[in-house]
Amino acid sequence: MSDVKAEWPLWEVFVRPKAGLDHKHCGSLHAADAAMAVQMAREVYTRRQEGTSVWVVKSSDITASDPGDKDMYFDPMEDKVYRHPTFYELPEAVNHM
């Protein structure tokens, strides 16, 4: 560990509130490495019993869509109502869909 950095890298934290549910993004924190990030996530984001499992991902490892591309990426879907499965008629027997 001869490489001394002034700042710890940033990590994104995902917490699973209970078994069966998905991990949800809940915030970020600074930590020297992944093991410390998991501990710090436990300290910062689960101190009120919010979680049963924690994931951490280095923020720099996340590739995000460009906010400038929002029009091109997402607006065209606005008038494609046929992509919603609301036009199918369900048989009586299927109550819960």
Partner: protein, 269 residues
């Protein structure tokens, strides 16, 4: 101005003193850790230290309540924490030593002492709680079961720091080595055999401290080795906090910790 509160005087029996030793070690250690609140080296660690202090205060509260019941004069946790005089506190001397925390008024401290002490104590308390799981006193066993989960995390968190700093830069390694030299003589008190412990072990109340030494040395030794540190040689020095004879530092801690209840007896908020 209202009269200040009178000190309480406990009737000491071996079981009461045995429980108070653990309770007071948790309480005073928590008090020292809480000094970091708002002053941690980074925000995340600030929260971690405060969370651990709160765990320890929770353990101390349960034990003080239980000690009050064992003592038999009907004293509660607040009376025991805030109205007892120094000579009736029985914590390990190690926990009352200053944390060498840097501040605007006192630069030059470092984080190594805090994290090393936390690790040495968590490892010791873990052994103790494990032994207390099979206590003949059901309430003590129940407190131990809850505390064990908390202390296992404290040991991991603090132990990771010992390795990080010990196996870190040249400067962090030398500071951690110095902290180890400072703390080590005070660890002898963690394993003293005496009549209080002897009675507790005999009655099945809990383990004698002297029985914890080899497991403690194994676990501490493994982490020190990973950190590139060696256990210092033992010295003849023996601190005496568990007998109620303290360093000059405990009085200052109690003065701060107890001042509110002393000035406003029974005050609540």
């Amino acid at each position: 101005m209202a009269a200040t509160a009178e000190s309480v005087r406990l009737k000491l029996t071996p079981p009461v003193q045995y429980v108070l030793r653990i309770a007071d070690t948790c309480l005073i250690h928590a008090q020292r850790l809480s000094e970091w609140c708002g002053h941690g080296p980074v925000l995340e660690e600030d929260i971690a230290l405060t969370n651990m202090a709160l765990d320890l205060i929770g353990q101390a509260r349960a034990l003080l309540t239980h000690a009050g019941q064992l003592e038999g004069q009907g004293m509660d946790e607040d009376q025991l924490a805030f109205l007892r005089d120094e000579r009736q506190f029985f914590n390990l001397t190690l926990v009352e030593l200053p944390m060498r925390r840097s501040s605007a008024h006192a630069p030059g401290g470092d984080f190594a002492d805090t994290t090393l002490r936390n690790f040495l104590l968590a490892t010791w308390l873990k052994q103790l709680w494990q032994g207390l799981l099979s206590s003949s006193d059901a309430q003590l066993a129940a407190i131990a079961a809850k505390a064990l989960k908390e202390v296992r995390y404290h040991q991991q968190h603090a132990g990771d720091w010992v390795v990080r700093l010990g196996d870190g830069t040249e400067e962090s390694a030398s500071r951690m080595a110095a902290a180890l030299e400072r703390a080590w003589p005070y660890t002898a008190e963690m394993f003293v055999a005496d009549a209080v412990d002897g009675t507790a072990a005999e009655q099945g109340l809990g383990p004698a401290r002297s029985a914890l030494r080899s497991a403690w040395l194994d676990e501490v030794g493994a982490v020190l080795e990973e950190a590139g540190l060696k256990p210092p040689a033992d010295t003849p020095f023996l601190s005496t906090g568990t007998k109620g004879v303290h360093s000059e530092h405990l009085g200052f801690i109690l003065a701060e910790m107890q001042s509110l209840q002393r000035q406003h007896p029974g005050g609540q908020w």
